[in-house]
Every structure is written in C-alpha cells, then in structure tokens.
Symmetry: C2
Subunit: 343 residues, 2 copies
Amino acid sequence: MFGSYTIKDIAKALGLSTSTVSRALNGSYEIGAETKKLVLEYAEKVNYRPNPIALSLKEQKSHSIGVVVCEVANNYFSQAINGIESIAYNSGYHVIITQTHESAAREATNVQHLLSRHVDGLLVSVSASTTDITPYQYLHDKGFPIVFFDRVAQAVNTHKITANNIKGAFDLTEHLIANGFTRIAHITSSRNLLISSERLEGYKEALQKYNLPVQPEYIKHCENGGMIQDEVEMALQELMTLPERPQALISTSDRITTTCIPIIKRMGFKIPDDVAFAGFTNSDVSESFDPPLTVLRQPAFQMGQMATELLIKTIESKRPIYEYQNELVDTELIVRKSSLKLA
Amino acid sequence: MFGSYTIKDIAKALGLSTSTVSRALNGSYEIGAETKKLVLEYAEKVNYRPNPIALSLKEQKSHSIGVVVCEVANNYFSQAINGIESIAYNSGYHVIITQTHESAAREATNVQHLLSRHVDGLLVSVSASTTDITPYQYLHDKGFPIVFFDRVAQAVNTHKITANNIKGAFDLTEHLIANGFTRIAHITSSRNLLISSERLEGYKEALQKYNLPVQPEYIKHCENGGMIQDEVEMALQELMTLPERPQALISTSDRITTTCIPIIKRMGFKIPDDVAFAGFTNSDVSESFDPPLTVLRQPAFQMGQMATELLIKTIESKRPIYEYQNELVDTELIVRKSSLKLA
DNA sequence: TTGAAAGCGCTAACAG
DNA sequence: CTGTTAGCGCTTTCAA
C-alpha cells in the first residue's frame, strides 16, 4: 500500500461526489463532458491508480491465478512460467507460484493456500507423487476454472495442454533404432504421472513397429521424479548390470535426463560408445554437454502461454463452459552426438 | 473467489453479531469462553477462511511482495526465486514476479505495475540497461520497503544482499594464474551493473597481486547482459583475433558463461587446450559440460531467502528503519577441467 | 461480554 | 447529468 490518491480524494478536491468521479474514470455515458474532462485531467495529474484490492473485494475477483508446479528451478517449468507470466501480465492478472517439490501433501497444501488467497483460477502440473485428484475434481465440479498443463490429472474433464508425449517418445526411440540400437532401456518418472505412461507407450510403439521386444527389465521408474539422486543412480545401476546390458538409454523426464549424465560417467561408461543416450529436456545448454546431447524438447514457453490463455478465457467467460480443450503440442527432436550410430 | 463462508454467514448461523464472531476468531480477550468455543467449532466445521482481500483492504496491506528480475528462466534467478518463495510462503506473503528481459523501460513499467498492485515491498535485481534509479530512490525516501539483491542500485541506501563479487572474481582469476595463465581476458555484462564493475575489480586485483598487466583490450562488456547472442559472439571474436590472443577467459555473468561455450567451440578453439575457460554460473549441469566447467557459484537460494527475510522484517517493522544491512555472501569456486593447467 | 455502526476504496442501483 | 446510499468482508471503536 503506498500513499496513493483515492476516488474520495479526487471527489473532495473537485467538489464532486465519489460516484461522479467513478463514472468519469470509467467512461460512463451518463456524465457531462466537462465534468469528465475535469476529473480525467485531475486524475492524470495526481497519477491516480484504482486500488485493485478494493476492486477485487467489490467484484469478487482477485485477478490472480495460482500456479502449481514441482519446481521453479527446472528447465521446463521456468520456461513455462515465463510464458504464463507473459500472458497473465498483459491480461491484468498476476501469478502466484507454488512449488510441490514432488510432494503430494505439499501440493494439497498449496492448492488450499491458493484457494484461501481467492485466486480466480488454477494452472496445475501435478507432482510425481500425486494420486488423489479429488480436490481438483471437486473444484472443477463446482465450476472453478482449472487448466492442467504438462502433467495432467487425466480423470478431471477440463482444459489440458500437453506435449504430444507419445509421439515424442516414439520419435526418440525410433531415432535410436534407426541408428542401429536394438537394446534400448527407458528411464522415466513416477508411474502416477500420465506423461510417464504416455512416454512409455511411445517407446513401446516404436519398439513394436520395428519388431523389437519390449523387455520389462529395461524399463525403470523413478517414483520421486528424479528429485532424489539415489533413485536415478539405482535405476542406472540395475540397468547397466543386466546380463544383456542396454546399448542405449532414453530418459523421459527433464530432471532425470540431466541427472543421468554424470552418473553414467561416474559408473565408467562412455557415451555413446558404451551406451548411447537421449532424453527429454528443455535445457538450453544440452549442446554443450559432453557429449552433446540428443534431446526431445517441449515448447514450454508456448505451453505456458496456451494454458494461461485458456484459463483466463475460462475465468472471464460469461456462461459456464462444458467443452474442454485438450491441446496437443508438437515436440522437437534435436539429434546430437550422444545417440550416435552404433559402429 | 470461491463460495466460501464469511463471518456474516457464521454470525447468522449462530445468532451472533459479526463483531463477536470476529473477536472469537481472533482470540480476543473480551469474549465469553463458551461463545468463543461455539464460534471456533462452527468455523472449523465449515472450514472458514478469512478473506485476505477484505483483510488487505482493511489493513492497507496487500501481503504481497513484488519481485523484479531480468528472467525467470535463468539458473541464478530461478534458484533465487525458489528461496524467495520459500520464505514468503511461510510468512503469509505471496510473490508477484516480473521480468525485465534486461530492458530498463520494461523495468520501470514493472515497478509501476507492482506499485499499482499495492505490493507491500519490492525485491529487486536491476536490469543490465538500468541507469535511472530515481524511482527507487523516490520510493525509498517515502519509506517504501525495498531490498536489492545481486544487482543492486548502489546509490540507494537500503538493504542489499550481494555475493562477494570482488572476492569471487579474484578467486577465479587467481585460480587461472595459479594454473600458469598470464594472458587472461574478462567478459562481463553491462557497465551499468555494479556486479560487473565489482567482478572486474576482483579480476584486476588478482592480476595486480601477481604483477600481471591489466590490458584494456582483454576486457569486454556485453551491454545487453548476453541476451543478444551477437554481442557475446562479437566480444569473443575480438578477443580471439587479438595479436596476443588470451590464453584464458573468464566470464562473470551466468547467461554469458553458458553462451560462450558453444561459440568458442564453433570458432574452432578447444577448451582448455587453445583457451582455458571459467565463469560465474549457477548452472547445475556445468559438471556435464564438455569440458567440465570451472565455475564460480553464488548461493542463489540463500540470497533469495535472505533478501526476503530482510524485506518482510522491514515491512513489518513498527518503527521506520534507518540502518540498512549490506550482506555479503560467499561464493564457491568449483574447479574442473575447463581451466586446466597450461602444459 | 456483546452488539451496532463506521470505514477501508470502489461500483451501482436508485433518486433527484 | 449528478448525488446518496448500500454493500463487498473484515476489524474496531463506542455503547450498552
């Protein structure tokens, strides 16, 4: 709060009523041209700014949207937040960001917190440990605007923005197959996440297309989404000590992808000579890795923008919405040395 | 806004007045034990949550803090924001983040925007192109709480949290000197930024300590903070075509550091054989770079936390504050292969 | 111990 | 065309 002029101040200074000032400021029709001019000029002079809090109280709208993500310091999410901010800012909304650190409990608290803050809508990407989505279902049923992005709660029938995960993982896997690899392992995030199963599905589809067996021992889940270094290390350990050691690895989670590299090296394997590697990540330095990383990139910024546009449209819609969009956006495969052809 | 119970609802249901309910809820002394119990139980039952907007209007406090940074999708800032969120969240404040994209004009708009949102205080890290700090000075003079972190407006006498930039750059430079390099170039961000001059100073101090000449042609500024790829490329180009080509490079900006690597490689130089490299960055994957990067890391998370603690303390202080803290936090030098000893 | 009423800044229905 | 009034949810005098 900072010593700003109120409508009352203007009214007093100009010898008018607050309603007249309000009307002038809001360009109402029922106002005299001169009065209007007078008020507008004075308001301009004293740099009048309406108090958004008073407006919120009046309108029963906070003009804020709540964001639930696992982590801000994550390539994908920091880019998505960039997109969210860009749209929200221009639409007069501000953004309250909360982090789950992949904890379902924390996520529930965050949603509560955001609700008690009276956010007008929610932009959510569920945590890796989230299984209970009834709070979202409940809110949505009550007509509260929610848009999921990236990590969606499938069962809740609302707007969703996701990357084409199946195709993305398919492309990644197919690329490895095309490069001569047949024993390809798959490291992914929690089984709770739809993105995990979709990416797994894309992987399987590619194997099947080329008549390669889908081997369960080649598939590893990191239930904490890679937040815990040990789980990634364990998964890698198990994979690389298999009798039929995989020739290539794909990782389908941003954090896991970047975490894998040093672990693999520490285990003494050379990429791609001993084991090829490719993964989902939005890191903008994957080119500088040793070796340069083959990555599957999601349009994080655009996804954030799309989700926010949809959410604001929903919030501002006059009539209830019963048709929900399920946007699928394309990913980008960037081939580099880490997935180099088998000699 | 979401169909929640109000004090009025409770009052009506219990046949009390709103003031009584309010008193019960706030644990006032002037209230009957039974009434209090009654209200509290009912409130609990219906999951009553005070409307923060009404409270804000009443208290003339928004319980929100505004953050001004250049970019969320930046290693340092995303980590700092993580720290900011963690403290703000636990203190009942929410955080409104704005990005300048290194534009001074955008920064001014953002501050205006945040002010019109009635944030209770500002956490700012100025943009690379900011020269006019009078708005901050003005606000601060009026008693508005501002804490600068990382990129501070030196002239404004308020709380500041910075890394020990001089020592950090000194350490980085000394390390290179210790490794046998004598011709060390310095690439940094805009001259406007105090962090740039401090880091430059640390560099010079190290050279002087070891009786090495400070050569102006070895010092390059990127006025756009590395937002523009070309400016980094240009700087590198000029340095690497010098008659006496530098043997080592230090970069003192997060974004510039990560940008340099691919450019240097594209120019055909091998790191560290043709030119050694070390730089400020908070990237958590610098270990995976080719070659693994020697970096100077700032405690971004803690800096965000400290800044937020200070800001909230200032906001909530009963009496005006005239003593401002200037916290200097230590950096961490992590030595890796990119700065390897000269053969 | 409790209630009535005013007020935070703003808008809007209702009078005039 | 303009003023009066009430009300959004809450706290806090002031009376009782």
